[in-house]
Symmetry: C2
Subunit: 305 residues, 2 copies
Amino acid sequence: MEEMQKNLLSEVSGLHGIPVGAYNIRVDGQALSMNSTANIEIVKKKDKSGIDIYIKPNTKNESLHIPVILTQTGLKEVVYNDFHIGENSDVTIIAGCGIHNSGDKESEHDGIHSFFIGKNAKVKYVEKHYGEGDGKGQRILNPVTIVEIDENGYMEMDTVQIKGVDSTKRITKAKLNEGAKIVVKEKIMTHRNQFAETGFEVELNGDNSSAHVTSRSVAKDNSNQVFLADIKGNAKCTGHSECDAIIMDNATVKAIPQILANNVNANLIHEAAIGKIAGEQLTKLMTLGLTEKEAEEWIVNGFLK
Amino acid sequence: MEEMQKNLLSEVSGLHGIPVGAYNIRVDGQALSMNSTANIEIVKKKDKSGIDIYIKPNTKNESLHIPVILTQTGLKEVVYNDFHIGENSDVTIIAGCGIHNSGDKESEHDGIHSFFIGKNAKVKYVEKHYGEGDGKGQRILNPVTIVEIDENGYMEMDTVQIKGVDSTKRITKAKLNEGAKIVVKEKIMTHRNQFAETGFEVELNGDNSSAHVTSRSVAKDNSNQVFLADIKGNAKCTGHSECDAIIMDNATVKAIPQILANNVNANLIHEAAIGKIAGEQLTKLMTLGLTEKEAEEWIVNGFLK
């Protein structure tokens, strides 16, 4: 691996070498290195790009790393990863994609991830998207995440995209059975002419299921963001979506969070707020000696932490 | 006027006779009685059903009543009323429509109201919709309200529809110039198989303009409700929409409040919550001697007050 590739890998997955446990490292359209463990089996798909991951029931405190990096300008790929999470397991999955584009052509990775989360299983899914490179070619990431959670299963999804992605359309769809729960935390920052759209569709189909979606975003320069959330309460359930956006410069942000109560015992809430950094916050930091630029940066970093 | 018509008139406008000031009382597709005053001129439209209302600049503390009642089954009408509100005036306009349908055919009134609110003018607009009658014919009301508010103008819009309307599609569109302000308060209750959709589109085009939209609704039995709000911040402005819904029985409620910040100085917030009456609230009232039904009614009435 070249130095630049190592840096990308570290940016998106925090890895500085080969990880412990199961992993599949994908570099420029090829599996560079793959490792299954006794409880986590990774199988390359035969009909298309991607892998099947089988996690045995009762697998506890194990992790799976599946970072993807693209360094060739003009490379476009769609990759299908299916996660079969056995009952009663408790695992952490670290995905992520980094694109280094120093050429003039578009580089694009679309990861289509499907999760089948068994009864009482618990999954923490972490995904970081990042772009860099001084080429004029766009860096594009369009992840699709499809989730089905069986009885009393749980998924936490932490996604971060704060630098270098020119265009992204993120779609997450989840269906929850009885007692299942999903918690989504999203952080997005866009610069220059970047575009980010993020959409969540959650169907709360089982009694005592719940969804909690939080999105924090910062839109700078001439960038545009769209936030969509659609929570359907079809049973005795709790749904909450929340979108907080800081708008700067000439950026625009649109929020459309929809809730639908189809059941008298559905309890649904959504909130959204878009605004610039409060003047008094800036003034306060500037009296402490920071420049306006530094103060803004300080506030934005705190907001996205 | 028959007794039944008098009752309808009182339901929708609070009137027990001919009002003070300017008025136009419309009964079964005809102007029953009309009165202009020195400052408020009412002119019948020549090309279509409806009236033009001209309110002179500086008209203060005057009122205009324009109730509509329908008592013939099968009567359907579209009526266009244009309100030209002069600069610096301060007026109250009481509209409202009551339908008594004791037959088998649909009765429908669609009031298309356009407001041109002059600089510094202040308008309070009150609208109550009501239906009754034991016929199988539907009672339908589809009001459209188009508002343009000039510099520093103000409009308060209070709308109520809590009984007897089988189907309604309410559309309100407002464009606000510098310093203009709109405050909307909506109350809706639906029963049986009733349907209510309500949509607000507000464009905050001028600096220091603001919009505040509040909707409170109760959906009972098998009724369905949809709440749409779309606030666009195109200048230094403040926008807030809020939808609170109580859901009961087999009713469904959908809320889609969209906000779009096109300007870094736009400050936009929306909130929506859908849920049933809290169990502990009911229990508390029942320990005071109310039946469950009475306790529910008490809470719903308080919520819509």
